[in-house]
Structures are given as C-alpha cells and as structure tokens.
Amino acid sequence: MNWLERTMTAAGRGAAWLLPAGRRDWVAAVWAEAHEVPPGLARLVWRAGGVWMLAREALMPRRLGRAAVFAVAAAFAAWAAWPQPGVGHAAESQFHVIATVLLLAGLPLLARRFFGSASPGRAGRSLRVLCCAAVLAFLPALAVVEAFANLTPAQPAYRYIFCIAQGWSNTQGCGGVPGRSTGGPPWAGEIVLMLLTIGYVGVILFLTSRRSQVTRSTLAIGAGMGLLFGVVMFAVAPLGLNKWATDPWLPGSTADPLVALAWILLFGGPAAAAVLAARRYRRPDGTKPPYTVRIGQGIAAGVLANGTAALFTAALGTGTVALMLKSAWLLHWLNHGQQLTAVVTYRYEIYAGTGAFAYVVMLIFFPVIGLIMSSVAAAIANPAPRQPGPRTDGDGGPPSPGRAPVP
C-alpha cells in the first residue's frame, strides 16, 4: 500500500463519521473490498470511487446542500448590503438586512410546519429558489440605490437637480449636509418592505406546498405568465418608473407598443392564466365541488403571474439601477450616442435612483390586480352548476302551492 492509498484509506475512515450511522458500513465495505482489486491504478480508482460515494452521501442530503448554498448566498448578500459608515439611517438598513435574512431562513421552516413540505415537481421548487434569489438580489441592489439617492451632492448645480428629483418644491436648503447621506428609508419604509417580503415569500411557500394543492400545471402557467410579463415590464421600465430615467433608450410614451403590451399583460395576463389553469385542472378532489377547486387554481395562477412579474421586475430593475450607479459603462451604453456631461449624467443617475422606489409600488399593487382579475375571470369561466329542483313556473310539474291565507 503506497502513501497515497494509505492517505485515502485514513481520510475515508475519518470522513465516514460525517455520514449517518446507517451509512458508515457502506464506506467500510468499499475500503474492505479494495483489497480484492488488483493493486495499482485499478485499486486507486476503486478507492477514489469510495471517496466520491462518501462525498455524495455526506453532501447529497439535499436539505444540507440547500442550506449551505443559502447560507453562502445570504452571507454574500448581507455583506454587500451592509451599510457603509456615514450612511444615514444605518440602523434601519442593518435591521432590513438582518430581518430579511432571518425571514428567508425561518419562513420555510414555519411553512413546513403549517403547510407541509414542498409540492412534488420542479415547478414548485424552482419557484421557491427564484423567489429566494430575487429577495437576496434585491438586498444589495436596494442598498446601493438608497445610498446614492439619499446622498446630498456638494455642488450647487447637482443639488438643485437632487432636490427636484426628491420631489421637494422648495429647493432652498434642501437635502441636509452636502456630501453626506442624511436621508434614508424611515422605519415605516423598512416595515413596509418587511411586510412585502413576508407576504411574497409566505404566499410563494404556501402556493408551492402540499397543503395548498396547487397543481404543477397551475404553478407552471402562473410562473410562465409572470416571467413573460416581467420581461416586458423590465423592458418598459429598466430604470424605475421615471420618464427621465427610461427616456435614454425607450420612448416611454403610452403609445409605445411595448407599454401597451405591458398594460394588456397587467390586466389580461392573470385573467388568461386563471382561465387556462382552471381548464387544465383534471384531478377530482371529491371533498369540494369541482368548480370551486378550479376557481381556486385559477386565482392561484393569477396571483402568481402578477406576483412573479413584480418580483422579477423589481429585482432586475433595482439591480440594473445599482449596476448603472456603480458602473459608468452601463450608463454610457444605455445613453449611447448622447453627449453626457457631468450634470446630465448626474440627472440620469438621480432620477433612476429615485425612480427605482416605484418598484415597491409594483410589488404592492400587481398581486392585488392579479387577485382581482383572476378571481373575476375564474368565476366567469367556471360558473356554479345549477341545482336540479322542482320548477315553480311553466307548464310541467305540479302546481305550486298558493300563498297561505293570512288569518
């Protein structure tokens, strides 16, 4: 036995303790069997297979793997979003980062307890992962945008634009101390963001759980419609809902075909998803009338469609604004062919920064619109069956009893 084999054997025996007790025998079996394999490369390959098996068995329990991936992603997002020294409202920002990570870690555990495990199939799991990724990506992007949008510029020319972009009518003495970030999201804003995070993550966890009984096709239809709408919405408003910010590369006018498509998808998308999901539903429940179950599937698809779209657009749009603020090349690419003076550049940046907060409005209202439209569409497409009963008018049937005489 050469030193390499000895090392592998010792490492394997030591690493076997990483496995549950019932699995350690199998690792020992591979090492024991290695003595039967001809020495040399074949035996080395055999032992390497044992190491591979050990790694798979130790790391493959998917919960452990997912938890590790989540921990790394959350740590990175928190590190990137952690407020720099001197940033205004640092306590609120720190609360936002910590609370978001704790919510993402804790809500799935609560959902598992109350809603059951994730529904089988890739659609549900993919939705959960996408939702988590979007919320984590939103964290550092929002931190960058907030830090820029609240930084009072030192130069008077910039300061005037800053005050106008912030919506202050009186630009005299607005913005606090020049060169310092004095503004920032107040506690109320942070609480709204937290409630939104709880709402989005909670609804996605519920819809993708076994207890909700939302089918795979409903999830796929809702998510597909949502991603389509999200792509269109991002193309319409890549830098927030602000015409100064979106002007560089998109006209942003209401006559634009893309804008018209976005309006159609905002109201028609959830309705179409609801009708489609209700029609695709084939599994008889037995405990509830089929039409109510179909309506439920339709509403789930509609809410999911607009919710996914809002989350996708918000995460991607805020990320684009943050990237533009950090990387000059993106600003120049978006404004190619234009003369970008320092003041014009600042104007684009500050309008994009302040316009990014409009994504929060999307996050609030899109799912509500989805809920209303899908409820109406699903109810119209799946009317309650008429109860058979005696006819009270017409020619057939026994005569209806007359009104009882009043004593």
Binding site: D25, A28, V30, W31, A32, E33, G49, M53, R56
Partner: protein
C-alpha cells in the same frame, strides 16, 4: 436515464447481476466486474436498493487471513420479484425498440409498407 420500470440502466445491470445467482451472496468487486460499474456508481445503487428493501447486505463471517471482512449482497424475495419484473419489461422494451428500428430501416431503404386499413384488419377486403 430512468426507465419506465423506475430503475436506471445501471441499476438494472446490478439487478441482473444479482439475479444470476439469487440465493448466493455476492461481493462488491464481483458485481463491479460483472456490471462494469465503478465503485462510486455501484455502491450508491446498492445503498438505494438496500434502502428500498430489495437487497440485503451482511458482513462476511470468516474473512481470509490478513484481510478485512467483506460486505456481501443478495436480493431479498421482494427484490427478486421486482428485479425479475423490471428486467422482463426492459427486455420487452428492447425488443420493441429493435422492431421499430428495423421498420424504420426498411422505410429508409424505400420499402414503404402498405398502410393497413380498418377493413383489411377486419378481413373484409375482397
């Protein structure tokens, strides 16, 4: 790729090797030689089969002098029934695929078969 029987091709090969002598205990290395699988593939398959109660495993009672005890495997009664069924289905499917390939080969060669009509199938053609 998992077959319609729920077993992958590699798992089927392990089951086939264990089916050769269902009452005999077999060693991992012997199975690896029969199936051509590496240890990193073979043992996870054996673990899954044992988890599902299709394979039973035990340690050798009397090891060869100077060598560690070996782990032994054989099919359980349930495993034998499942393996037999799965292998039979896999064989049927292979036969169907071979027939389909032959038919496709004939079509490509230009020998277009006459479509069988409902009447012809019922023996009603004159």
């Amino acid at each position: 790729m998992a077959s319609r029987s729920g077993f992958s091709a590699q798992t089927l090969s392990v089951l086939a090797a264990l089916c050769d002598q269902p009452s005999q205990w077999q060693h991992g290395y012997a199975l690896a030689r029969q199936t051509g699988l590496k240890s990193g593939t073979l043992y996870p398959i054996l673990i899954r089969l044992a988890d599902r109660g299709l394979v039973e495993a035990c340690w050798q009672d009397e090891p060869a002098p100077g060598l560690p005890r070996r782990h032994l495997y054989r099919l359980t009664a349930t495993g034998l029934a499942s393996a037999t069924g799965a292998l039979a289905r896999a064989a049927d499917r292979a036969t169907e695929q071979a027939a389909a390939r032959t038919a496709t080969g004939k079509l490509r060669a230009g020998g277009r078969p006459r479509p069988a009509t409902r009447g012809a199938a019922a023996g009603m053609t004159p």
